[in-house]
């Protein structure tokens, strides 16, 4: 009885402490990349729309919690990992190669780990990475790079893509000069014609194309290795606050829904948040764009990450990575269940641009009237000609590569006219082959438009 009384008194004395503990301040620090389009649904969009705050738990042990959400913007994934190691960031959003290094560097420590808890988006075949040449270059194929100087951010996904692309095309490293170059300097060198080619990650290639300084000769989709981005979280944080991790994943999911609901409005806002041109972002986030916004963790992603880890081990001797321990679907499954969405259905779905983009309409982004779509290239060209005839400003035009289904700027595509039919291509080689097979010829975008300019 005496023991019971002591326990009761102790429990009563602890009540205020328990309530103080419940009122704890939970700091949530997230590292993201505003210059990396594929991270936006777990980064800038969640931040600017306050989506994490919307889903943060407010009941149970979180009833009196005070949240302190902070965001830190980085130019690449490496520094995010370093900040996570220092526990200055709880969450990190980054691309596949930096993600792998993140997991491996944490597993190299005695006491710290991260968990890969969700994706942000993907391109099944690897679009997002690309090799670009100066716009006036006479190179049109990756095989033209033999004996040339090619720069890339070594250690990035674009570097991994470049290595595989060269291997796939039987170009050994001894037959080209590889230079280590940052995206901004690489883009500047392409504009100035100081380098033969530059390989980079999203959205640098499209920025160069949109600004008229560069031209793609190789798209990452040709390697066939999925390009994906994802979310990692410190394991100690996830263990202590699993509901916060689930809230973050719900925010990622809603960010994707928000973009899908009105891509033009979304990219216009994102331009203001990131400084990346909205027309470039539209190539990624619109229907038929490079990016499929869906956070599930597919088996194919695990295979792709293992492949990428193999490249990094071979070339950069990074530590081993136990994928089983690192990747977990526990949090995303709970998040989906709370949202009432079928996780397994999302996980099973796979968007292949070649199939999904087949038959999608061409688009014109009128500066005043917004985006309009056209079912055929003649309809599209007629509209472009008419709009240009009024002196209207067109922000951008979008067509699709006949070969890969990749969404392209109309002005950078290779155009083929065969009789009354038109076709558009990413690369000159395929365009020439198509022209040859169909009795057509290559024409410029302006020449194609000129066919539809009406008198008077």
């Amino acid at each position: 009885m005496k023991h019971f009384t002591k326990s009761a008194i102790l429990a009563a004395a602890m009540m205020p402490l328990a309530s103080m503990a419940a009122a704890e301040k939970i700091s949530i620090a997230i590292g993201h990349q505003s210059m990396c389009t594929d991270t936006y649904t777990a980064g800038i969009v969640v931040k600017e729309l306050g989506l994490l705050e919307k889903y943060l738990p407010t009941d149970g042990k979180y009833a009196d919690a005070e949240y302190d959400v902070s965001w830190a913007d980085y130019s690449s994934g490496g520094p995010i990992t370093n900040q996570m190691l220092a526990n200055k960031l709880n969450f990190g959003v980054m691309g596949d190669y930096p993600l792998i290094v993140n997991g491996a560097k944490f597993q190299e420590t005695d006491s710290l780990r991260t968990l890969y808890v969700a994706g942000t988006g993907y391109n099944l075949k690897g679009s997002g990475n690309a090799i670009v040449v100066p716009v006036d270059s006479d190179m049109y194929s990756i095989t033209d790079l033999v004996g040339k100087e090619v720069s890339t951010p070594v250690g990035s996904a674009a570097w991994g893509m470049l290595l595989k692309a060269m291997q796939d095309n039987n170009i050994p490293t001894s037959e080209y000069v590889l230079k280590n170059q940052s995206p901004a300097v690489g883009a500047a060198n392409i504009a100035a014609g100081k380098i033969d080619a530059h390989s980079d990650f999203c959205p640098w290639s499209e920025i160069m194309e949109f600004r008229g300084t560069g031209r793609k000769i190789y798209d990452g989709s040709e390697t066939g290795v999925p390009y994906l981005h994802g979310v990692v979280v410190r394991e100690d944080f996830a263990t202590e606050y699993p509901e916060v991790v689930e809230a973050f994943i719900k925010a990622v999911w809603e960010a994707g829904e928000w973009i899908r609901s009105d891509p033009m409005e979304a990219v216009s806002l994102m331009e203001g948040w990131t400084g990346v041109e909205k027309e470039v972002l539209y190539l990624y986030f619109s229907e038929g764009g490079h990016l499929t916004l869906e956070p599930s963790i597919k088996d194919e992603w695990v295979d792709a990450l293992k492949f990428n880890h193999g490249v990094l081990v071979k070339e950069k001797a990074i530590p081993p990575l136990d994928f089983e321990a690192w990747i977990t679907e526990d949090y995303i499954r709970n998040a989906y269940a709370d949202l009432g969405i079928d996780y397994d259905a999302d996980k099973a779905s796979m968007v292949d641009p070649v199939v999904a983009n087949d038959g999608l309409p061409m688009e014109i982004w009128h500066a005043r009237d917004g985006v309009s779509s056209y079912p055929s290239l003649p309809d599209f060209l007629t509209a472009v000609a008419a709009m240009q005839g009024t002196g209207a400003k067109l922000n951008a035009t979008y067509v699709y590569d006949d070969e890969t289904g990749l969404k392209l700027f109309g002005k950078t595509a290779f155009w083929v006219k065969a009789g009354d039919e038109y076709a558009t291509f990413l690369r000159k080689g395929e365009a020439e082959a198509y022209a040859s097979a169909n009795g057509g010829s290559l024409v410029t975008f302006d020449e194609a438009i000129a066919d539809f300019i009406t008198e008077g």
Partner: protein, 224 residues
Amino acid sequence: MTRVASTIWTDIQANWKTMVLHGLIFALLFQFLMLIALIVRFQDLPNYVAFYDWFGSAVHIIQSTPSWRDAVQIIWEEWLIEIGFMNYDYGMGISEWSLNVVPSRLVMLFILGATVSLCLALVRRDGCDVGTSNTMRATTGLGALLVAMTNATMSWVVCCATPSWVVGLAMLGLGVSTSLALETMGPLLTGLGFGTLAFIIVVLAARKAYPTKELDPKGAPADA
């Protein structure tokens, strides 16, 4: 060996002020030289500087890292100052290059500067011929170069997977294959550099502690 250690200790006692001064000058001068190298390489003056709460970060890391070994390794990479060039042509700006002042590297460079100072003091006091003296100085320089090279703290948005000391060398023109080959050799090269300097110190101290006819052809005491 005791006499050698004693000689080294005596020389350190005699030169400690100079060693500290040289250590400080070397650590600071190295930062300045890296900054100059970056400015020359990229033809841009720095346009941003950021200061970090190194002590606060170190305390936070210790509090939130269960393993002391991990905590030390993480603190080792913490920055004090970042100075660089932000390119505003893209997005909201992207850091094109930066020099990171890292306290752990400052300590390494300070030790390096002090060690080189001791080496040079011993060489000066050694009575060997000009050729041997030059060889000693060159070896000291080689050791210093190896340590300094592996403590470069220049960075850019290139190696987004694994930033490391070779990034600085890559920025200054080192080839990709060479930098990748060297990347894992950082600790080895640092050890080799300090080992070389330690070897020079021991040799010079031994020559002083055990003067011989061969070492001193004129038969005069080495420090006469």
